[in-house]
């Protein structure tokens, strides 16, 4: 893993673990309180209808409590924002997230059209497009940023790469970008999928992802390129 590029999947997992732990803890806390209250304060048969003593509120207590919730919120927002400033997200997420694709990134022009994808590698003169029988394959070099410049010919699509825990929308008449870094070689069948409903065959608008070593990638670009 080259320094400074960042692994967005790991960063996702780190952030997710915190949210998940806090969420589960709060749910369990409240569930336990509900059960305890129901058991402890359950009316006994005879005083079913009698009113229990009750106060209409305790404002200082409630405001203190609101302050505690606000602190949890502040911590979560801070964690989220600092994750967005981490290298992985700075590289991957662009546009108003203020990230920048690295200058040395490989470039792929992605075009979505109902219901297929085309990948153009402008530096190598390669064009990869799916057919009715076969989904296209996105070929990438290992451990190197690749910027996808994406647009659509018809309606909104989106590219979701669950393995990288990331997605971005693809619009007609606009260009959006995302930069993916796969730290390891491999092959992911249907590893990318359209993730914005786009009509009849949206469910089948996938592509495979193949990540090669830099040497194999160079060989592939020489062979496929013109």
């Amino acid at each position: 893993m080259s320094d400074g590029v960042g692994d967005i999947r790991r960063e996702f997992t780190d952030l997710f673990d915190v949210y998940w732990a806090i969420g589960v803890a709060i749910w369990l806390l409240i569930a336990v309180l509900v059960v305890v209250f129901v058991v402890r304060y359950r009316a006994r048969g005879d005083d079913d209808a009698a009113p229990a003593p009750g106060r209409s509120g305790n404002t200082p207590l409630e405001l203190t409590y609101a302050g505690i919730v606000a602190c949890i919120v502040a911590v979560l927002v801070w964690l989220t924002f600092s994750t967005m400033d981490d290298p992985g997200y700075r590289v991957t997420a662009q546009g108003l997230d203020r990230g920048e694709p690295p200058a040395d990134a490989e470039l792929v022009d992605v075009t979505g059209a109902r219901w297929n994808w085309r990948f153009d590698y402008p530096r190598h003169g390669i064009s990869e497009i799916g057919t009715d029988l076969r989904v296209p394959t996105l070929t990438l070099p290992e451990d190197r940023p690749v910027t996808l410049r994406m647009t659509s010919l018809d309606v909104i699509h989106a590219i979701w790469i669950p393995e990288r825990r990331f997605k971005q929308d693809v619009f007609p008449g606009r260009t959006t970008t995302m930069t993916v870094v796969f730290p390891d070689q491999g092959f992911w069948r249907s590893g990318g999928q359209c993730n914005q409903f786009c009509g009849l065959r949206h469910a089948e608008m996938d592509f495979d992802i193949r990540v090669l070593s830099q040497a194999d990638y160079d060989a592939w670009t020489r062979e496929r390129g013109r």
Binding site: E11, Y19, G23, I26, I30, A31, L33, V34, F37, V38, Y41, R42, A43, D47, A49, A50, P51, A52, P53, R55, S56, G57, E62, Y65, A66, V69, A70, V73, L76, V77, T80, F81, T83, L96, D97, D154, V155, I156, A158, W160, P162, E163, R165, F166, K167, Q168, F171, P172, G173, R174, T177, Q193, N195, Q196, F197, C198, G199, L200, H202, A203
Partner: protein, 559 residues
């Protein structure tokens, strides 16, 4: 008491029910119609779940499935949920305020008719040659323009959504005017029942957001039929901004009223005053204000909005929501909890909505949402808010108020079974969706490849959905049973705290013969407390031993 109640004990004919200006008739008609659409939307969901139980296409094709999820979403979130809360409010807000009738009853009636007509218009798309709309419930452009989605079904969708939501808006105006102008003598704003306050917050959002959906639908209609309105590049973002500016407040509109109703159920069945009334009211208003500044958290992946801003505002929603939970628990604390069916549904609401709320905080974080967005994680999240929240809250309200509306009780046994089945069913249906979505399953697909190993979890989810069906059928049986042999409820079967329980069940045409004094937001509880204080004093006069056994003797000194 006069003989007035006997008038409304006669079963109204259908025409009477649909043309009457009595707020109770309008409210009931709206609620029952909305429940009909709930059932219809549920049937569509079952068809989807049946297809999804296994990988491979079994009995639907892609086109049919795409219509089904569009119409399921549209039906549930636009044709069932907002109307049902307006229906319940039209019935109960005037009663809780001690009002004889609603303000602008004809406007409300028109609202009902527009709603019914609009909803049928949307559904009539199924009868057209090309079928119903198939562009998801949010109808993003340019998928929804005339080039990408030609066909009458789409136009009927746009028209029907506009008409039905105009209906919701008119019903809302009438309820709002009633709250402003028809409160009983002595009922200051801070003596209104919690449900009425939750409606104030709801209706403020309706007044801000609903005109926007009307305008958006008008523009979409023009774009489809007259001339391009939304340009190809920025226009699709503009449409999303407009749509979510309406649709995010929308999801609070179908949630807040149930916070109010559940709060009252919890207070009633904990036999004490709602705890934290003022702060809860404040939090509802704060919540409503925030609701207009979070919409673009649906657009984190568009590169067209400021993700940090919308992440901040959306996460802040946890503060007012947290206050409401504190108030619920504070009300139960040291109460005398009576576990009747309304309370069971209310507790189901508390536990299940919480899953939706906490997962909402999760998707409000852009780095997490980049993965979860448009996956089954989101489907699971919003079903815990809509099913765990709106539907459980609604059943708490229905079991609570059914005796008031019909004069008869529902069966507790059937209700307990329904609640248990719904609770387990909601977990079984929607928890697997979290796992599936996390593992990469996108929403809005009729099929998934067998090599993913998603069959088992999907089958579980489908089994859960059928449990939910059984639960609803139990409810139908319960209602029918109650119409035949339900025990008479009397004016106040639960020991209610608010004014609707101070009149006959069902209430006479002008609601009240006589109003008790209103000295707090729980006027009937005040009377009951006064009575037990008097009894205690009497007991003390009679001798110490007796007094210690009387329940009221355990009362703490009032603050």
């Amino acid at each position: 008491m006069s003989a007035a109640p006997s008038v409304s004990l006669r079963r109204p004919t259908l025409v009477e029910l649909l043309s009457a200006t009595d707020h109770k008739r309008i409210g009931l008609a709206t609620t029952v119609t909305a429940l009909g659409f709930f059932f219809a939307g549920g049937v569509l969901a079952l068809l989807m779940r049946t297809e999804l139980a296994h990988s491979g296409m079994q009995f639907l094709d892609h086109d049919a499935y795409n219509q089904l999820f569009t119409m399921h979403g549209t039906t549930m979130i636009l044709l069932f949920a907002p109307p049902v809360v307006m229906g319940v409010a039209t019935y109960f807000v005037p009663l809780q305020l001690g009002a004889a009738e609603i303000v602008w009853p004809r406007l409300a009636l028109l609202g009902y008719w527009l709603y019914l007509g609009g909803a049928l218009t949307v559904w009539s798309g199924f009868l057209t040659e090309g079928g119903a709309a198939r562009w998801a419930w949010f109808a993003f452009l340019p998928l929804s323009d005339s080039a990408s989605s030609p066909g009458t079904g789409g136009d009927l969708w746009v028209l029907g959504v506009a008409l039905s939501q105009l209906g919701v808006l008119l019903l809302g105006c009438s309820v709002m005017a009633t709250i402003v102008r028809r409160r009983a003598p002595g009922m200051t704003l801070l003596r209104m029942p919690l449900f009425c306050w939750s409606m104030v917050a709801t209706l403020l959002m309706v007044l801000v957001a609903w005109p926007v959906v009307l305008a958006t639908m008008a523009l979409l209609f023009i774009d489809r039929n007259v001339t391009d309105v939304f340009t190809v590049g920025g226009g699709s973002i503009t449409y999303q901004n407009l749509f979510w500016f309406f649709a995010h407040p929308l999801v609070y509109v179908i949630f807040f009223p149930l916070v109010g109703a559940v709060g009252e159920v919890i207070a009633t069945f904990s036999r004490r005053r709602f705890f934290g009334y003022r702060v809860t009211v404040l939090s509802l208003l704060l919540f409503a204000a925030l609701s207009t500044s979070v919409w673009a958290h649906h657009m984190f992946t568009t590169q067209g909005v400021n993700n940090r801003f919308f992440s901040l505002t959306s996460t802040m929603i946890a503060i007012p929501a947290g206050i409401e939970y504190f108030a619920f628990l504070g009300t139960m604390w040291r109460g005398r909890i009576v576990l009747r069916t309304p309370m069971l549904f209310a507790l189901g609401f508390v536990l299940l909505f919480l899953i939706g709320g906490l997962s909402g905080v999760f998707v409000a974080s852009p780095p997490l949402d980049y993965h979860a967005h448009d996956s089954y994680v989101v489907v699971a999240h919003f079903h815990y808010t809509l099913f765990g929240g709106t539907v459980f809250g609604l059943f708490a309200a229905i079991f609570h108020w059914f005796p008031k509306v019909t004069g008869r009780r529902l069966s507790e046994a059937l209700g307990i079974w329904q609640c248990a089945l719904m609770f387990v069913g909601a977990l079984l249906t929607f928890v697997p969706m979290f796992v599936l979505g996390f593992d990469g399953m996108p929403r809005q697909v009729a099929d998934y490849p067998a090599f993913r190993d998603w069959d088992g979890l999907n089958l579980l989810s489908t089994i859960g959905a059928y449990m939910l069906l059984v639960a609803f059928l139990l409810f139908v049986v319960n209602v029918l049973r109650s119409r035949r042999i339900g025990e008479p409820a009397g004016p106040d079967p639960w020991g209610g705290q608010t004014l609707e329980w101070a009149t006959a069940s069902p209430p006479p045409r002008h609601n009240f013969d006589r109003l008790p004094p209103v000295r707090s937001y729980a006027p009937l509880l005040d009377l009951r407390e006064e009575r037990s204080r008097a009894e205690r004093e009497l007991g003390e006069a009679a001798g110490g031993a007796d007094a210690r056994r009387a329940p009221a003797a355990r009362e703490e000194p009032a603050p």
